[in-house]
């Protein structure tokens, strides 16, 4: 083995060891106490957090005499403002889920884990929990000190208040979740009268415990080890994705300032480790992209604050793609096939939902041909078939529905002299008979179409049609 080969190998091994040295992964053995530094991204984060207020306040919206958005599972009705969706229209949900899945992909492809960093409930609730923690226990140094302090009255008091507040938030979260499924006023009434029913109680309890444990204790460990989306999003990021990036060209070799001045031959990074101190997941952005980074951009605030203090240009850590960082021109958005594919899927999903919502039949007729017997011979020689007509009324009012049939010549429809009173949100059934003179039967099977017609309160005519068969002897 030549000397050059040997030295190459040594260098490679040295690199590996160097990497291993800072490749420390926190498996929950140390609690991350992130510092809070005000800044642009911190403000954006509060704005993003506040989106979740909708989750708490949404159920209080009313629409007529009911909750505006209510997923009424016991009655199998899903009210979204003026629209009531019944299980029959549930295929739209799959498109909605597709839409959000692709939205996640688009967001990630363009700007990294925006969802993780700004909108995810794990991030938001942890942020609120640690905000309470800071308010009660003080800054990170004080928190660490308190952790080591003996259990005296002050510590017990502070901790008790903290955990109490956490549990209250967890409980409110649980109630807010359940109130999308149960009328919110009924729910609170049941809570105050201690008559909460089984499913509601279980879900409130689960959410209380889940929120308390996940946001209070597991925190970043959830993002590291529990969350599949964290891993999925990792593969959606490419070289053109703008993500919070440490500019190592400018920053390295890092070095501490001496006597308030940057040392000769060193980069702009003054190695103050503020970017690490503020990180809610405890990673060091200067190691480049890594699984622990939820891309919340708080390190950008921290670094900019320091840069301003030491009189260096800001933006040492900034939103930038890997291509741009390496001096390459960023491909414009329209030149990225991903953007096109994702947009196409988004558009398709939206169009599907739009189509579904615009063609929601107000009434739907179903026709079940009676199989036993298939047909009955009548005394006048005609053939009678029996059908069960089912009218699904998706409106909020009861509808008086008339049934007509067209098909073989000379057919006589009986059982529809009185209109079917179709109860709203329900299926109303009626047995009807169709008689056809034998002479007019052209085969064993003949098509027959049933039409349901109703007029609603606004005077609109609602029509639904369904084809069935008329069966006669061979």
């Amino acid at each position: 083995m030549s000397d050059t080969q040997q030295s190459k190998q040594d260098a490679a091994i040295a690199d590996l060891y160097a990497e291993a040295e800072h490749w420390h992964i926190n498996t929950g053995d140390e609690t991350i106490h992130a510092k809070r530094i005000p800044g642009r991204w911190r403000t954006y984060k509060w704005i993003a957090n506040s989106v979740w207020l909708l989750f708490f306040l949404g159920p209080f919206l009313r629409w007529g005499d009911r909750q505006a958005v209510l997923f009424d599972i016991p009655n199998r009705q899903f009210h979204i403002f003026g629209v009531t969706i019944l299980p029959q229209d549930f295929w739209m949900l799959s498109l909605l889920l597709l839409f959000f899945a692709i939205l996640l992909a688009v967001g990630t492809a363009l700007a990294g884990r925006v969802y993780c960093g700004f909108f995810c409930f794990q991030t938001v609730w942890t942020d609120v929990y640690t905000w309470i923690e800071e308010w009660l226990e003080g800054n990170p140094q004080k928190r660490r000190k308190l952790e080591k302090a003996p259990w005296d009255a002050t510590k017990i008091r502070i901790k008790a208040i903290k955990h109490f507040l956490w549990i209250v938030i967890g409980f409110l979260t649980g109630v807010a979740f359940v109130s999308w499924f149960v009328d919110v006023f009924d729910l609170w009434a049941a809570i105050f009268s201690l008559t909460l029913s089984g499913a509601s109680l279980v879900f409130v309890a689960m959410f209380t415990a889940g929120t308390y444990v996940l946001a209070g204790f597991l925190r970043e460990q959830t993002c590291f080890w529990l969350c599949p989306y964290a891993r999925i999003q990792g593969v959606m990021v490419d070289k053109t994705t703008a993500v919070p990036t440490y500019d190592f060209h400018r920053g390295e070799p890092r070095g501490r300032m001496a006597k308030g001045k940057k040392q000769e031959g060193k980069g702009d990074c003054v190695d103050c480790a503020q970017c690490v101190a503020v990180c809610p997941t405890g990673v060091d952005i200067r190691h480049g992209q890594q699984e622990g980074c939820i891309m919340c951009a708080l390190c950008i605030d921290a670094c900019d604050t320091v840069m301003l203090k030491v009189g260096l240009p800001t933006g040492l850590i900034r939103y930038e793609s890997l291509d741009q960082l390496n001096g390459m021109e960023n491909r414009p958005m329209y030149a990225r096939p991903r953007v096109w594919v994702y947009s196409a899927i988004l558009l398709l999903a939206l169009m599907g939902i739009g189509y579904g919502l615009s063609t929601l039949d107000a009434i739907e007729i179903k026709v079940l041909h009676s199989r036993a017997p298939l047909y009955v011979m009548q005394s006048d020689g005609s053939i009678q078939n029996k059908y069960t007509i089912k009218i699904l009324n998706k409106m909020t009012e009861d509808l008086s529905t008339t049934i007509t049939a067209s098909g073989p010549k000379g057919l006589i429809l009986t059982g529809t002299e009185e209109p079917i009173e179709a109860v709203h949100g329900q299926v109303s059934a009626r047995t009807v008979f169709v008689k056809v003179p034998k002479a007019h039967l052209e085969g064993e099977n003949m098509p027959i179409t049933f039409t349901a017609t109703a007029i609603n309160d606004e005077g609109e005519t609602l029509v639904s049609e369904r084809e069935s068969v008329f069966i006669g002897p061979k």
């Binding site: 017997p373 011979m377 005394s379 009678q384 029996k386």
Partner: protein, 283 residues
Amino acid sequence: MADNNPFPGENNTGHVWDDNLRELANPPPRWWMIAFWASIAWFVIYGFIYPMYPIGNESTKGLAGWTQMKEYHESMAEIETIRAPNEDKIAKMSAAQILEDEGLASYVVASSKVLFGDNCAACHGVGGMGGPGFPVIADDDWLFGGAIADIKTSIANGRKGVMTAHGKILSDPEIDKLAKAIIAGKPTSEPLYMTKGCVACHGPDGKGMKILGSANLTDSIYRFVPGEGQTQLDSVKYTIKHGVNDASDPMTREAVMPAFGDRLSEDDIKKLAVYVHKLGGGQ
């Protein structure tokens, strides 16, 4: 063994076979052991709460007092509570009144399927489609009347129509003539219809009499359908020759509707009457 461990310091159990095969001490993880003991505790506690431990031919009753039969009865009671409002109404109403009430009638149609299946379908077929030798009750032709009250009487009291065997009274050619007129739907056009006494039961118009249960000979429905390899004409001739329920002729047709009045409750009979009326031919 352990004193002479050839592989010290590798955390083996000291069990060594064939020089170098040895068992390492790899205890299961703590969480696994906790789950394991918790499962055993669960099993023991479960056994106290529910019937489990055998004692002779019996078993412990369990503290919760749960039995499968108790759960069954509770479920039945639950269903009966749901049905009660309708059942109470049915008890107070006549079959005709039930038929008038659309909601109640559809309750009866939905809930009496089992009743029909247990008591009626064996002869009259699923959905009243009839069977070999048994009448279709889904059509509009009724020997004893298709009004709700008639149907109810038929179920409660049973029916047994009688037709004399005419083999001794009529010659084969006469039977043939009559049968052909019936198949054509015009029995009264045949002079024998009047002279040989058919008119007495089947009426001057040939449409039968409800009180006697005599068949309408002018329509397209036949009480007795032909067997394998026979035509409807053969079947009609057979009926004329051997009659129905005529004890003097051993080859007579047998057609008896048994009485259900002593087998079923009054409410059940009302329900069945409504159910049958709704099959398609009620009048």
